[in-house]
């Protein structure tokens, strides 16, 4: 507080009051609020190349989301005819020709890994295009804004409506808008549950109140979140809640394309009057059309920033203006840091899509894809698991022979029942006994898992011979052969003997 004292003031009583040159930490002039009210954004409708792409992507992604559960797929009797179905009750995941069992869940893991790698590649090539076009938050926000625009008009009219006092017509507009938002939200939540049950049946059950409670709860939760995040929170989700803007920095480099304002061409910016010369000034006429169309409410001319979702609506808006004032387009464009700085120096720079980073991402995608394809092709319809008893490892029999116990799990992924014949291979003097089965044939029902106990008995002579040779582990295989489909599965395992002698 007692910073360098300057000239004091002499009071009437003759004493001197020191004067300090200091500022309070929370001085009113510079004081910032701790919490800021949200600045409402009213994005203006824009027409153009990128907006058309955005409409198209929106249409396609929404169609995929809403219609996929309704695609039928004939799988024959006893199996659901829905092309994409997550069947929790029977722990199966149906995806067109694929039928994934719980132990094959790595296919789903692989798909997620692939999705992540594609996202990385996309970001390395063209920044946050995922955010701008395909992210569900963007798609539904765009849809909600479209509805708002239909009901309340475009930007200008919405701003006016906001300022008007409440009236009958304002109330009506608000009610219609929120009702439509809730309807979209309800349909969104509704479509989700169809992925988990037979869609036509579930539809009827939902309407007649017969559906399981979890279906209604799910719809309720998704309705609430869609309405809240897509309709009300919108850009706040991207700016404050989503971790992806923070992560993307690691995937971008100087060659990545991002929506950029070409300052070297636009600056110095100033208003333009018809007939004025374009010499000694930039192409930017500071009309702020790029700002009013931005769904994030930012000014792209401030450079790359966290809030930007790379949706390119500002490019459309600016190009529209450039055409009107008869200047070349793409003052705002997809450009890289390298491109921007090269152009500022008057050099030419070509976009380089092939860089170590993108090549590595693409290579990883190819590797994971190949691994998954191989796994898919090597998938077996007859799957046998052999689990050897570990307690006890072996049992001595009264005749001097030795017995080992095994648990066999036979999986029938076919849509026909199987007659599996089990035999031993490579164990001389061994005999296979199936508990509860008189013969070596087991019937495995359609789409089922059959678990059975099996004992392998080694004859006294073979036991003596093996033990005399100092063996305590014998390798052999249990062979399962399905007589119906002529499929065979060979499963290596071991036979244990007492040690010594």
């Amino acid at each position: 507080m007692n910073d360098m004292a300057d000239t004091g003031t002499i009071t009437e009583t003759g004493t001197v009051v020191e004067r300090a040159d200091v500022e309070a930490v929370n001085a009113k002039a510079t004081r910032e609020t701790l919490y800021a009210e949200r600045v409402k954004i009213h994005p203006k409708l824009v027409h153009g190349h990128w907006r058309r792409i955005k409409w198209a992507v929106m249409g396609v992604t929404l169609a995929i989301y809403y219609l996929t559960p309704w695609i039928r797929w004939d799988r024959g009797p006893n199996l659901p005819d829905q092309a994409v179905l997550i069947d929790f009750a029977n722990t199966r995941f149906f995806f067109f020709f694929l039928e994934i069992w719980p132990q094959e869940f790595y296919f789903v893991t692989g798909l997620l890994v692939l999705a992540a790698l594609v996202l990385f590649l996309m970001t390395a090539l063209a920044g946050r295009v995922w955010c701008g076009y395909m992210c569900p938050q963007t798609v539904w926000t765009d849809l909600m804004i479209m509805i708002e625009r239909l009901v309340e008009g475009d930007r200008g009219r919405r701003i006016v409506l906001d300022k008007l006092p409440m009236s009958g017509s304002k109330l009506a507009k608000r009610v219609i808008k929120h009702a439509l938002w809730l309807l979209v939200a309800l349909l969104t939540g509704g479509a989700w549950v169809f992925y988990f049950g037979d869609a036509p049946t579930l539809m009827v059950d939902l309407v007649t109140g017969q559906a399981p409670i979890v279906a209604y709860t799910t719809i309720g939760v998704l309705t609430a979140t869609t309405y809240l995040l897509g309709g009300l929170a919108r850009e706040q989700v991207c700016t404050y809640m989503c971790p992806w803007p923070r992560i993307q920095g690691a995937m971008l480099d100087d060659e990545s394309l991002m929506v950029s304002y070409r300052g070297w061409r636009g600056e110095p910016r100033s208003h333009y009057r018809k007939g004025e010369s374009w010499d000694n000034r930039g192409d930017c006429i500071d009309c702020k059309q790029c700002v009013v169309v931005c769904p994030m409410g930012i000014d792209i001319r401030d450079g790359a920033q966290l809030e930007c979702i790379n949706c390119a609506l500002c490019i459309d808006a600016c190009n529209d203006v450039m055409t009107k004032i008869n200047r070349p387009g793409n003052l705002i464009a997809y450009d890289s840091f390298q491109g921007l700085s090269a152009a500022a120096k008057g050099e030419n720079h070509r976009f380089r899509p092939l860089r170590p980073r993108t090549l590595i991402y693409a290579g990883l995608i190819a590797v994971v894809g190949l691994i998954m394809l191989t796994a898919l092709l090597m998938r077996t319809e007859l799957d046998v698991n052999v689990l050897r008893d570990r307690n006890p490892l072996f049992v001595r029999l009264s005749d001097g022979g030795v017995r080992n116990g095994y648990t066999l799990r036979i999986l029938n992924k076919e849509h026909d029942s199987m007659h599996v014949v089990l035999t031993l291979d490579g164990l001389e003097g061994g005999q296979l006994v199936l508990q509860g089965h008189d013969s070596g044939t087991v019937e495995v029902p359609v789409d089922d898992l059959q678990s059975l106990r099996a004992f392998v008995v080694l004859s006294p002579e073979a036991t003596r011979k093996a033990m005399a040779a100092g063996e305590d582990v014998l390798d052999f295989a249990i062979v399962a052969h399905d007589t119906q489909s002529d499929r065979t599965s060979r499963n290596s395992t071991t036979f244990r003997l007492p040690e010594g002698r």
Binding site: A36, P392, L397, R403
Partner: protein
């Protein structure tokens, strides 16, 4: 302290990490509202549910919710769900249980659990047995390996306190001076002979007579055993206490008196049935 950042024009908080300064930007107000909502939720939860430990207990909450009660209710429900199986097992005979796949599965699962709790300390978790405690996986049975024989053994025990206990007496031929040292040696050689082990042929020849005089009554002609009396088969490869020369000699000298308790009063009849089916299913059942 606080300075204005040149690039953004915003004030910084004055905190710096490796040259990176934090801008002093206000939080969105809705964020604050969400925080208040969380506090409100916490208070509501505190009132409704158990929340705070005290010295002699905890705050119960006005809903009176308790996880223990939930678990108890779940357990009761599980027992309720099992009761129809248990009733069927109680009324069915053992062979029927084994022939009915659902009942068999239920019995084996229940028997396995009961075995782990009650039998594993002596017979081992895999029923593999130890010296003096039979291996229940093999095909050699003292008192018989049929379902009923196993059931009787579990129910009444061996040399137990039950009135119906299975009982026999392997006498201490040496300690009680019924046989002398040489005779014991000879009969030991004979037992080695009939169990196909290395032996002294001359001694075994002498032992044969001793065996006929003293052992055949229980162990049978040629030592093949008698399950009626729980007398072990001495010709096979399985030994409860060991089949080597020293152990056999010790067995003849001192006798054996293994005990298995009766489970009649400790386990309910359904559990005993489940145990019998489980043991029978281990692979050695006859």
């Amino acid at each position: 302290m606080n300075r204005t950042d040149d690039v953004t024009g915003f004030q910084t908080t004055g905190h710096e990490w490796d040259g990176i300064e934090e801008l002093n930007r206000p939080l969105p107000r809705w964020w604050l509202m969400v925080w208040y909502a969380c506090i409100l939720w916490a208070l509501v939860y505190f009132v409704l549910y158990p929340a705070w430990p005290l010295v002699g207990g905890y705050t119960k909450g006005v809903l009176g919710y308790s996880q223990r009660q939930t678990v108890a209710a779940d357990l009761a429900k599980a027992q309720e769900a099992q009761s129809q199986w248990r009733q069927q097992i109680a009324s069915a005979d053992l062979t029927t249980i084994e022939k009915t796949p659902e009942l068999f599965q239920f019995a084996v699962a229940g028997g396995k659990a009961a075995f782990g709790d009650n039998c594993a300390p002596c017979h081992g978790t895999g029923a593999q047995g130890f010296t003096g405690y039979p291996n229940l996986n093999d095909d050699d049975w003292l008192w018989g390996g049929s379902l009923d024989a196993i059931h009787t053994t579990i129910r009444y025990g061996i040399r137990s306190t039950s009135d119906n206990t299975r009982l026999n007496d392997m006498m201490a031929f040496g300690r009680d001076q019924i046989l002398n040292r040489d005779q014991i040696n000879d009969v030991t050689e004979y037992v080695l002979d009939i169990s196909h082990q290395d032996h002294d042929a001359a001694a075994a020849e002498r032992g044969k007579q001793i065996f006929t005089d003293n052992c055949v009554a229980c162990h049978g002609e040629g030592g093949v055993g008698n399950q009626e009396l729980g007398a072990p088969n001495l010709t096979d490869a399985i030994w409860l206490y060991g089949g080597d020369r020293n152990t056999i000699r010790q067995t003849v000298t001192n006798g054996r008196k293994g005990v298995m308790p009766t489970w009649e009063h400790r386990l309910d009849p359904v559990t005993i049935k489940q145990l019998a089916v489980y043991v029978h299913s281990l692979g050695g059942g006859q």
